[in-house]
């Protein structure tokens, strides 16, 4: 395990890059996804159908393929962006779909009876939306959203395949140099675990508190 300790600084620096990418992905995809999800919950069949198609496509295609499309496609469209930008764009497009689907479902899952109670005291639909459906809907959405965040963190490792220097890429470099595959990869897995496991514990806690009865 000495190999691991010798290289730990290098790996931790790479872990930081992973974290940056993960945070960027989560924040952007959640903003876009929430906006889309709320819009879809409120709108008519057209917007809802568009969202359904978008979610269906994203669900059925591997993240890596989306990353390749972005990586090779952006230069073609005239955009000269570094590889991590392309990868992040692909990840955001991927996860925004899941976030939108979760948000839309959660808003609609707020019990009709609670909505009726709001109407009965004279609230108008816009007030019902802002005061009842959105707050309660987002509570319901929290557990699956946190799980999605955890998945997003793990999927940053796929960016290494298009050459983005993050934790997985760095670990490969070190292993190829030192041949100490098990020690290095074990250390890296522990690092990923330390990031993702607390997130999944959060999700379990939130599930107990806020999930639909």
């Amino acid at each position: 395990m000495d190999v691991a300790f010798l290289n730990i600084n290098y790996l931790l620096k790479a872990a930081l890059v992973t974290l940056e990418m993960a945070v960027a992905t989560v924040v952007l995809s959640f903003i876009v996804g929430t906006a889309l999800g709320v819009a879809a919950a409120l709108s008519g069949r057209l917007v809802r159908s568009v969202l359904t198609v978008y979610v269906y496509v994203v669900r059925g295609v591997p993240v890596l393929v989306l990353i390749f499309i972005a990586y090779f496609g952006l230069p073609r469209l005239g955009v000269d962006a570094p590889n991590y930008v392309a990868a992040t764009i692909a990840l955001v497009i991927y996860f925004a779909a899941f976030v939108a689907d979760i948000v839309r479902g959660s808003i609609l899952a707020v019990p009709k009876s609670t909505v009726e109670a709001g109407l009965a005291i004279g609230l108008r639909w816009r007030q019902v939306l802002m005061q009842i459906q959105l707050p309660l809907g987002m509570r319901l959405a929290l557990p699956p959203l946190v799980t999605t965040a955890s998945i997003a963190v793990k999927s940053t490792s796929y960016a290494s395949i298009v050459g983005v220097w993050e934790l997985t890429y760095a670990s490969r470099e070190v292993v190829e140099r030192t041949l100490a595959a098990f020690e290095i990869f074990f250390t890296v897995m522990v690092i990923y675990f330390c990031i993702c496991y607390p997130i999944s514990l959060c999700a379990t806690y939130l599930q107990r508190r806020y999930a639909a009865a």
């Binding site: 109407l119 009965a120 004279g122």
Partner: protein, 270 residues
């Protein structure tokens, strides 16, 4: 029973004229007509599925109805008829929302907003709809909580309250809008037996204060005690209508006789 006597007004508080409603092929309300005077307590009873809850929900337009008119305090609910009566145009969302403030509704499952405290639940209507200031609304809400016997629970969340307490908060929430009539939809059916009495007491108090009330309930004894008039619903029509003592002593229809017998034997068994 001692009640505050309201000033006689010529116009009934609630008028239901020829209201019919179907869910698809199933007609649940068959040309229902009745009136409720100001200060009257009318109790709707009848077997499950007879239409009584549906009618209640039509009065504050939580359910649409295909034919007929409903007037609350002289104002039409849901549809505006042109003079002559045959043409109805659906009201706007604003009109409907405004009319709902005249009728307070309390639900079987309380339906409190889980993310707000008891006092916040009560304040929501006055602040958001009547544009009262938070301070005014809070004072009023505190008074209402005291009225239903829950002054110390103001900052509790619904999850921290028992069923009976939640239901009383729900009653206070409906009262906060100063409605002209209160609609109660089986408000004790979801409660444990020991919690039922506290809610019924609140209803009794309201009735002695002269509130116009329409109550749907299975609690027969309570119905007999509190009602000025009993309406028996059966398969979408009203087949008995009168003061409880009259109706129970002289049932006009066999169906109601059977219903009464079942109630009396159940009461004996209890």
């Amino acid at each position: 029973m001692n009640k505050a006597q309201p000033l006689p007004t010529s116009r009934p508080m609630i008028e239901v004229r020829g209201v019919s409603k179907s869910f698809g092929e199933n007609q649940v309300l068959k040309s229902i007509s009745f009136e409720v005077k100001e200060g009257e307590v009318v109790v709707l009873i009848g077997p499950s599925g007879s239409g009584k809850s549906t009618l209640l929900r039509c009065i504050n337009y939580l359910e649409d109805f295909q034919a007929g008119e409903i007037l609350v305090d002289g104002a039409a609910v849901g549809y505006n008829s042109t003079a002559g009566g045959s043409k109805r145009t659906k009201q706007s969302e604003t009109e409907i929302a405004r009319l709902r403030t005249k009728a307070g509704m309390v639900f079987q499952n309380y339906n409190l907003f889980p993310h707000k405290t008891a006092i916040q639940n009560i304040m929501m209507g006055p602040v958001l709809v009547n544009r009262e200031s938070k301070a005014e609304a809070r004072e009023h809400a505190q008074a209402l909580l005291a009225k239903v016997g829950l002054a110390d629970k103001a900052n509790h969340y619904p999850s921290q309250l028992s069923g009976g307490q939640q239901q009383r908060v729900a009653i206070a929430r409906a009262l906060a809008m100063r409605p002209k009539v209160m609609l109660f939809d089986e408000v004790t059916s979801a409660l444990d037996p020991e919690l039922v009495d506290e809610v019924l007491k609140t209803l009794r108090d309201l009735s002695t204060e002269g509130m116009t009330m329409i109550i749907v309930t299975h609690e027969m004894q309570f119905a007999r005690d509190v009602a000025d008039r009993l309406l028996f619903f059966y398969q979408g029509s009203i087949i008995e209508d009168g003061p409880p003592n009259d109706v129970f002593a002289n049932p006009r229809t066999e169906r109601f006789q059977a219903f009464v017998k079942r109630f009396q034997s159940a009461a004996m068994a209890a």
